[in-house]
């Protein structure tokens, strides 16, 4: 174990001194930030340019007097980019004006509209589609006037005007009526539920990437022919462990740096106590799953690296192995729609997909299926133990074979030896 630490320390030091690692360490969050913000910024600025001159001119021929009620509300709201001009002209007279202008609307509110319940409006070219929703604004005051005319009093009108809403109340074993309550809490609830899972997902993602670095490191050891010199001081098992531990530390370091860079920004932008949401007992289980996931991928990659001298010339088999960590992504859709479904459960029991899928499921499920969690963890731990053994065998032989990539039959032979 002491020797493993020496190897681990060397791998950490070597990477921390290498420019490419440092650049990717600090550049990745910046690139992420750019990708996350630039499209929004671009589209924002696009809207800004449009919205200033993009007032829609609304010619309103108001014979009923609805506008007097609406005007104070409109000037408060401000979401509506309307430029209202009151007019007495009829639709025929306005037709020529609308022909010449763009983004102009003529609305005629008169007695017949009130009685028939149909308001005609005339638009010029380039009136945004959203106008058909904006114009609904007139519905309430018109309806009020309609009802008033029928002779109902104030309270009767209020009753008639109140929409009937349907409230869903899911009844589960324990949650009772919590669901309704929770839903009403909206984004806060959403954050509370997802922050630990998203965090664990980030950890898993990051250490899966460093798992790939384990692969590179093992392959490099082979290519640069240092392995045998190292093996005169430590055993193959210790060398392998050292690499796995070393890159684990690098992975954690990477996550820490990323979060260190992202946290101040996130805290400044978001009003919710994210740290509070993050530091919950559930996080421990999430992190355990993430770490187990790393150990599994790292053992696969370290064994794979020992079979390949030149990563660009790997066979289809090795290419396929490379895809393994990304398998859960294929199933994100189905699992999200049915986190308790058969597929989700089966995927939780397959070691290659279980870390990603478990984190995803536990983030969305209200109630954790503890039995499934335990079975899944047990399968994962046993597979890690098995994979480490197999990787050790492959590593021990593969790392000392120079000048060629191992073929699948060869690897099979090593496994059986």
């Amino acid at each position: 174990m002491r020797n493993s630490w020496k190897v681990a320390k060397w791998e950490i030091r070597r990477n921390l001194k290498s420019k490419s690692f440092l650049i990717s360490l600090f550049l990745t969050p910046i690139i992420f930030a750019i990708f996350a913000t630039v499209p929004t910024l671009l589209s924002d600025s696009g809207e800004d340019q449009d919205s200033e001159p993009a007032q829609t001119t609304v010619y309103l021929n108001d014979e009923i007097g609805v506008w007097d009620q609406l005007e104070p509300m409109l000037s408060e709201g401000g979401d509506l980019h309307w430029d209202v001009e009151l007019t007495d002209e009829s639709s025929d007279e306005m037709a020529t004006t609308l022909e010449d202008e763009t983004r102009s609307v003529y609305i005629h509110l008169d007695e017949s509209a009130l009685q028939s319940g149909t308001v005609d409006y005339y638009t010029s070219e380039e009136v945004p589609e959203s106008f058909q929703y904006e114009v609904q604004l007139f519905e309430q005051p018109l309806r009020y006037i309609q009802l008033e005319r029928t002779g109902l009093d104030e309270s009767e009108i209020q009753t008639a005007m109140n929409p009937i809403t349907f409230n869903q109340n899911e009844v589960t074993m324990e949650a009772g009526t919590d669901a309704g309550e929770a839903q009403s809490q909206g984004i806060e609830y959403f954050l509370q539920k997802f922050v630990p899972g998203v965090f664990a997902g980030l950890v898993l993602f990051s250490i899966a990437i460093t798992g790939m670095m384990v692969f590179q490191s093992a392959s490099e050891e082979k290519k640069e022919k240092v392995a045998e010199i190292i093996l005169s001081s430590v055993t193959a098992g210790e060398l392998m462990q050292g690499k796995i531990i070393g890159y684990f530390v690098l992975g954690i370091l990477q996550v820490t740096v990323w979060i260190g860079m992202a946290a101040p920004v996130a805290l400044a932008l978001v009003d919710y106590p994210i740290i509070e949401y993050l530091l919950v007992p559930e996080l421990l289980l999430f992190l355990l799953i993430a770490i187990l996931g790393y150990l599994m991928f790292a053992s696969i990659f370290v064994g794979l690296g020992a079979t390949l001298e030149d990563s660009s010339s790997g066979s289809n088999f090795q290419g396929f192995v490379f895809m393994i960590p990304w398998l859960p992504f294929i199933f994100i859709g189905p699992v999200l729609t049915n986190p308790e479904g058969m597929l989700s459960q089966v995927l939780s029991y397959i070691p290659f997909t279980s870390p990603g899928i478990m984190i995803l499921r536990l983030s969305i499920l209200d109630e954790w299926p503890w039995v499934q969690i335990f079975i899944s963890l047990a399968i994962l731990i046993v597979s890690i133990w098995l994979l480490m053994k197999l990787a050790g065998k492959i590593f021990r032989i593969g790392i000392l074979i120079y000048g060629k990539n191992a073929t699948l039959p060869e690897i099979w032979k090593w496994l059986r030896s």
């Binding site: 240092v226 045998e228 010199i229 093996l231 193959a236």
Partner: protein, 311 residues
């Protein structure tokens, strides 16, 4: 003499092929012991088995002064045949890493590294990245790496391969110096001429088996008989009549007569027939190189002479 390492009955198979079998030898303190043999004879397999990098199927490897079955890695320096260095690290960093792996105190290692870099004409290169070194420089750094921790046993697998003559001399001198200071040295090579001048004892291996084992002097006395090379147009039947000739090789006008081991050169020359056509004549001993080539090509020489065992 002080035995450092004993190998007994070592055997190893890959698939169904016996790569080495019945390998027995010792390495003593302060001596240079050479394992010689053609490519594929089993030299590297033997050495890797000693290092515990391969597990032998049979036989024992004993490091005296240490518990049976334990490979005292910290006391061994090892330069494998296939060797290299991490590319993007500084020379000093990698040397200190090798020392750290051997649990050797780092301040002392640094001192030794600087001294050896100077000795090998690499002064001032300690902070240079490995990928900026020439191949020869890299090999010197690897060599320093294998001795940085003052090993009591130094195992060198083909230390001279790929070296230019100047570096070969430097290495040879250093290996001799280390032996003088008491390091036990086990080296493998197929370059006889280099090894002949420096090793104390040798173990010749062919097709995984011992062919010759003994001290250099014994081997020479045993195998290095005289041979007489005659330039001139001579009939084979005439040469065959000469006494104490064991074997004749003829090519064009050159005849080589291999003389028996008990020959007295002066007397033998006197009794040469006067009808012999002699343009040029030389008498010298068979070199290790010739013994080696004979064995590698399965000529009869060594088999005829039998196997000497001079422990």
């Amino acid at each position: 003499m002080n035995e450092i390492l004993s190998v007994k009955g070592l055997g190893k198979s890959f698939k169904n092929t016996r790569v080495v079998k019945n390998i027995d030898f010792d390495v003593h303190k302060g001596e240079i012991m050479a394992v010689l043999g053609p490519n594929g004879a089993g030299k590297s397999t033997t050495i890797r088995s000693i290092m515990g990098i391969l597990l032998p199927d049979e036989g024992t490897v004993t490091f005296h002064n240490h518990a049976q079955g334990e490979v005292p890695r910290h006391k061994i320096g090892y330069l494998p045949e296939e060797r290299g260095l991490y590319k993007k690290v500084k020379v000093m960093d990698i040397l200190l890493y090798f020392a750290e792996l051997k649990d050797y105190p780092l301040d002392k290692a640094k001192e030794r590294a600087l001294a050896y870099l100077k000795k090998f004409d690499l002064e001032g290169k300690e902070n240079v990245s490995v990928d900026e070194l020439s191949k020869g420089m890299g090999q010197k750094v690897q060599f320093i790496g294998s001795i940085i921790h003052e090993p009591e046993l130094l195992i060198l697998d083909e230390p001279f391969s790929g070296l230019d003559p100047v570096s070969q001399e430097v290495f040879k001198q250093e290996i001799k110096d280390l032996a003088k200071k008491g390091t036990a040295i086990l080296l493998s090579s197929h370059q006889m001429n280099l090894v002949e001048e420096m090793c104390d004892r040798l173990f010749l291996i062919h097709r995984g088996q011992k062919v010759i084992y003994g001290s250099m002097d014994e081997v020479k006395a045993q195998y290095a008989n005289f041979k007489c090379t005659i330039h001139g147009n001579n009939d084979r039947s005439l040469l065959e009549k000469i006494n104490q000739v064991e074997r004749i090789e003829q090519q064009d006008d050159i005849s080589i007569l291999y003389l028996s081991s008990d020959v007295q050169v002066n007397d033998w020359i006197k009794q040469l027939p006067s009808t012999l056509d002699i343009q040029e004549l030389s008498v010298d001993r068979i070199s290790l190189h010739e013994i080696f080539v004979d064995i590698a090509t399965d000529s009869s020489l060594a088999q005829e002479a039998g196997v000497v065992d001079a422990k």
